[in-house]
Symmetry: none
Subunit: 330 residues, 2 copies
DNA sequence: CCTAATCACGCAAGAATTTGCAAGCACTTG
DNA sequence: CAAGTGCTTGCAAATTCTTGCGTGATTAGG
C-alpha cells in the first residue's frame, strides 16, 4: 500500500513504468494516458519527492568568509535577489574572527533544514583547510554550489571566474604598457584561485618567481607584500583582490613613489567604489552578477532534483582600465 | 517507560532506527515516513527535540536594509563578532529589491525561534513606513534592539549615534573654514536621523531651508541632489552618508568645479575605504564598534531577562578631517 | 490484403532509496 | 566499574523507481 507508483499505476490501470515516465516527463506516453496518470496523481495526493520539505523549506544558506571586501556584500546582494525572485529566502552566514566557523554554519544550516547552500570564498578554496564539513553535506545530499575555484576532490558543481584568463589579462595589459618587471601579490599559497593566477604568471615571458608574494587578503597584507616587491624594483604589480591593490598603492606611496607614474597597480574583482579611489583602480572585473545568477539557477535545479553536472562553469572576467596603470618609465 | 524512540517507533510501525534518523534530520528516510514520525511525535506529546523547537536557539537575527553602503557590512561584522563572543550565532537578513521585506524577515525569525533581533537602518527609522511587524515582535516579547533613531512610538531600547551633534560638527567644521553657503543632502523626509540632522542645520546661523535636499541613499541620489545645490552656489555640502558624499563629489566635478578647491564635501559614517577615495573624504564617524557592542550587550541582557531601559543610548560621533574639505574661496 | 513504420506500453533487469537488524556508543545507576 | 538504558549507525535486505528492450497495435503505403 505504500508502493506509491504501484498504487497510482493500479488506479489508472497502467504499469509502474508508465507512471514513472509521466512523473519524469519522459517521452513514449500517449497524451491521454499522461492526463489520466496526472489526474490520479492529484486524486491520490501523490507528491514528487523533493528537497522542499516541511515549512522550513525555501531557505537557502549563503556562506561568506567576510564582509570587509566589498565584493562579498555585493555578491550577497546578487544571490539574495536572485533567490528571492525564485521564491527562496537567503540566510547570510559570515565567519567572524574567533567566532563561528564554516563547519558551525554547516551544522546550523543542516539543522534549519535549508533547501540548499551557496558557498563563496570558503575553505573549499584552500587546499590546507579542513574539509570534513563538506563531506557532511554530501552525505546529506544537500544541494550545494561553490563559487570560485575549489580543491578538486569535492564533487560539487561550481561557478567560477576564470582566474587564469584574469591574470593573463592583467599581465598582458602591463606588458603592453611596456612593463618588464611585473610582480604579483597573491593570497595564501594553498588558495586555489591564487594558484591559478600564479600559473598564468609563470607562463608569461617576464615571469620571475621571486617577484611573487603570498599574503592574507587584507589591506595590510597587500601593503607589506607590495613593499617587498617595490624594493625588488618592480614597475607593475598585479594583485589578487582590490583590497590588496589598495594596500599596494599605499605601499608604493609610502616608498616615495607614485601610482601610476612610477609603479602601475592592477586589482581584481572590481568591487564597488573602485572608481572613486585615488587613483581610480585599473582592475579585472569578476562578472558577479552573471555568476550569482548562474549559481542560483544551478542550485534551484539541484533542489528540484534536476541533474546538474558537477563540474565548473567558468566565467570570463573583463579588464577595466582606469588610472592606476600607465606606460612604464624607461 | 521513557523509551521515547521505542514508543514512537511502535506507534508509527517502524524501527527505532528510523525514528532516530528522523529526529536527527538524517537522510535515508522517505518523506512520507518522516511526516508520519513527526506527527506521532506531536500526538504523543513529545517535544520535537532541539532541532525544530526550543532552546537550540542561541540564534540572533540581524536585519539590515542593504549591503551597498559599506557601513552595513561593517556593522554586521561588529555585531556578528560580538554575538559570537557571547555564544550566539547571527543570522544576517538583508532586504533585496523586489525580494524579501522586513516583515517577511520578522516572520522568518519568529519561526526560527531566534533569541533576539537587532535592527539597523530599518523601517522603524522612517515615519511613513509600515510598522505592524514591530508590534508582532512586541506581542511575542522577543528581545529586540534598534540601531539609530527610530520613530518614537515603538518601545524598544535603542543604540544611536547622535545625529544632531554629527551635523553640528560637520557644519561647524565648514564654518570654521569660512564657508557661508552650506548645503545639505539628506535621506528621505520621513527618515528620523535625517530629520535630526536637519534640526541641527536649521539651528545654525547660515541655515537656509532652500539649501536642503532630500533623496534616496544612493550615489546617484547624492549626485542629483548635489547638482542642484551646486547650481544654487553652495561652497560646502554636508551629506547624510558617505555614499551620498561620493555622489556629491562626482556632481561637483561634473559641474566643472573641484573638491575641495571650489566646493567642500563632508560625508557621514566613515565607512571603509573612505581614506582611499579621491580626495580622501572628510566625514563624521559613527562609532560602530562601540555601538555594535552596546547593542549586543543590551540584547544579551534582554535575552537573559534583565531589565533594560527602553530608551535611547546616544553615542558621540567624531569628525574625521581628510582632504575633501578646505578653506572657502573668498 | 500484406508489409513496414511508428508508437504506446509492459516486462524485467538493475539503480536507487528506504528500512530494520544488530552492534556500538554515551550516559546513568546501583 | 559493571550493568542497564536509550540512542546512533554500518550494513545488508527489502522496497521502490527507472530504463532498455521487445511486443503488439495501429496506420500508411504498396
Amino acid at each position: 500500500m505504500t508502493r506509491r507508483l504501484a498504487e497510482v499505476a493500479k488506479k489508472v490501470g497502467v504499469s509502474e513504468a508508465t507512471v514513472s515516465r509521466v512523473l519524469n516527463g519522459k517521452p513514449g506516453v500517449s497524451e491521454a494516458t499522461r492526463e489520466a496518470v496526472l489526474t490520479a496523481l492529484d486524486v491520490l495526493g501523490y507528491e514528487r519527492p523533493t528537497q522542499l520539505r516541511g515549512d522550513r523549506a525555501r531557505l537557502v544558506g549563503l556562506v561568506l568568509p567576510e564582509l570587509q571586501n566589498p565584493i562579498f556584500p555585493a555578491f550577497a546582494e546578487v544571490v539574495g535577489g536572485a533567490l528571492a525572485q525564485q521564491g527562496f529566502t537567503s540566510l547570510l552566514c559570515t565567519r567572524t574572527v574567533g567566532g563561528v566557523s564554516e563547519a558551525d554554519y554547516v551544522d546550523l544550516l543542516l539543522q534549519q533544514q535549508v533547501s540548499g547552500v551557496v558557498f563563496a570564498g570558503g575553505f573549499y578554496a584552500q587546499a590546507d583547510a579542513p574539509h570534513q564539513h563538506y563531506e557532511l553535506i554530501q552525505e546529506r545530499k544537500l544541494p550545494t554550489v561553490l563559487v570560485n575555484a575549489a580543491v578538486d576532490h569535492l564533487g560539487f558543481p561550481q561557478v567560477s571566474s576564470d582566474d587564469y584568463v584574469a591574470a593573463e589579462m592583467a599581465i598582458g595589459h602591463l606588458r603592453a604598457l611596456g612593463h618588464l618587471r611585473i610582480g604579483m601579490v597573491l593570497g595564501p599559497r594553498d588558495h586555489i584561485p591564487s594558484r591559478r593566477k600564479l600559473e598564468a604568471y609563470l607562463a608569461a615571458d617576464e615571469a620571475d618567481p621571486k617577484l611573487v608574494e603570498h599574503t592574507m587578503f587584507s589591506l595590510e597584507g597587500g601593503h607589506a607584500a607590495a613593499t617587498r616587491l617595490v624594493n625588488s624594483g618592480v614597475t607593475g604589480i598585479v594583485c589578487a583582490s582590490d583590497i590588496l591593490a589598495l594596500g599596494a598603492i599605499r605601499a608604493v606611496r609610502r616608498a616615495g613613489l607614485s601610482v601610476p607614474g612610477d609603479v602601475s597597480v592592477i586589482g581584481y574583482d572590481d568591487s564597488a567604489m573602485m572608481n572613486c579611489t585615488d587613483p581610480p583602480l585599473t582592475t579585472v572585473r569578476q562578472p558577479i552578477d552573471a555568476m550569482g545568477r548562474a549559481a542560483v539557477d544551478m542550485l534551484v535545479a539541484l533542489i528540484e532534483r534536476a541533474v546538474v553536472p558537477a563540474d565548473e562553469l567558468l566565467f570570463e572576467p573583463e579588464l577595466v582600465v582606469r588610472a592606476s596603470t600607465a606606460r612604464a618609465r624607461i
